[in-house]
Symmetry: C2
Subunit: 283 residues, 2 copies
């Protein structure tokens, strides 16, 4: 697991302070307080993400053998900020090139299949940026905490996830897995906000309070999933997420770094430009 | 067919000037030139669209019997600005609540089914805003121009489309159908731009020049589709689209007017707020 950005690789989730803001430049250097700097950077990085996304899309369109795509996996406790991150970070990109999938409790049809079945159906196509709002990791998180499957089935899933993600990498998928890490106190405040603000009542789900009672069990389940399913080609990042402005910046920054590894450019024309120009001006 | 916004209902597509900008306030009133005013309005209206979309999403979440959703159908000649409109207008909304589908040439599987089969699979779920980048109208546009089906089949399709759209309206879908109307000269300029700007080479498709040669046939096919498939509950709008800033504003404005007819609000809490607050503070 990596604490991002630039933090040390750690094995202990409890050692990551959800209120911390690692990797930010000193305010005396930027001339802005950290919050203002992050907000302005999110806009700038967002424009760059949109450009990178377009080049990714263009590359796949011009070359049908180019299977490259990006998949951002977002996990978090309830109120962890998955929706807000998608709105503000993924929202900077062209929705035409995005494929966003929210994974809720499995349907009867989904339960009748292997747990990765519904995930395979939701993968981004070549050229797309996929976002998973929750993911196959729920099958080793809530499944573990609530003992939804036999222990042997659960244990096998970590290896199945690793094999699945290796397969994805082989097909051209660049994976970025992010845990938005909030504190129990922050979750309480956000749940209270949903009970207080009439514009947020609809987000309140009493089931969230039941999950909250199992907080420590969930943290242990996260720690185990992150430790067992972290690979160089499919890394897990822990983003301290009590501060929304830091969270947005950190995820945007991670995506930009991910795109940088792809070394994208606008593909060259597949046609004779002069000839096409003449055809066009003749018609 | 309606020329938007606020224009008169017209039957003659050729009478709509693609460079016109109907419905804008006088620059002496706004204090801004029309382009600057439209650009600033798109930002303001975009924020309002995002709010409306959230209320739509919330309504469907709280009440599973609420089937309301919005479907924007975008049609245009090549280079008409469908992608740009989606980027700038739909892009103002939360991608979580959007379902965008681009309809290309039908696959073998799609051809084996009724022409509406692939369209039904792409409909927005209740609470979503759907966007069709091309649509079932291709089946009376290119199908007519290129004589892809027997005449009787083609003629039947107009009625089938009308019946289909009535069915959608009955299920809670609010339809907005928009033709982005560009001139032949503007299309030439945009195609030339794709041959000139290395960032746009990938968008250039020689097949577009073939379609361009059939310009008048396509205009006639559009005029017929708009005349035969315009209904009060599923209206067609013609948006003059030579000027991108006007086009974006007009489509945003249409969507805002569409949302206004839904009279959306944030749904009330489905739980006992005080009881939940006590539960939360106790845990």
């Amino acid at each position: 697991m990596r604490v991002t950005p630039g933090g040390a690789r750690q094995a202990d989730l409890a050692a990551v302070d959800p209120r911390s803001t690692p990797g930010l430049p000193d305010p005396s250097v930027t001339g802005l307080d950290r919050k203002s700097w992050c907000r302005s950077q999110v806009r700038l990085v967002g424009a760059e993400l949109a450009r990178q996304q377009e080049m990714l899309f263009a590359s796949a369109k011009v070359d049908p053998t180019d299977g490259r795509r990006v998949l951002l996996v977002l996990q978090a406790m309830d109120c962890g900020g998955k929706d807000g991150t998608i709105k503000r970070v993924a929202g900077a990109m062209n929705p035409l090139g995005l494929r966003i999938t929210a994974f809720g409790p499995p349907t009867d049809e989904e339960l009748a299949h292997h747990f990765l079945w519904r995930v395979r159906r939701a993968l981004p196509a070549p050229g797309q940026v996929g976002v998973f709002n929750r993911s196959h990791y729920e099958d080793v998180l809530i499944a573990r905490v609530e003992s939804l499957v036999p222990e042997a089935t659960l244990q096998a899933r970590y290896d199945e996830i690793n094999a699945f993600e290796r397969e994805l990498v082989g097909e051209g998928v660049t994976l970025v897995k992010v845990l938005l890490h909030i504190s129990r106190a922050e979750q309480r405040d956000r749940l209270l906000e949903r009970l207080t603000d009439p514009r947020k009542h609809w987000k309140y789900d009493p089931a969230d309070v039941a999950a909250r009672a199992r907080w420590d069990d969930y943290q242990a389940a996260y720690a185990e999933a992150l430790a067992r399913c972290d690979a160089d080609a499919a890394p897990w990042y822990v983003v301290p997420a009590d501060r929304k402005w830091y969270r947005d910046w950190a995820v945007a920054h991670l995506l930009r770094e991910t795109f940088a590894t792809l070394d994208l450019g606008y593909p060259p024309a597949g046609v004779d430009l002069d000839r096409e120009r003449r055809r066009l001006l003749a018609g």
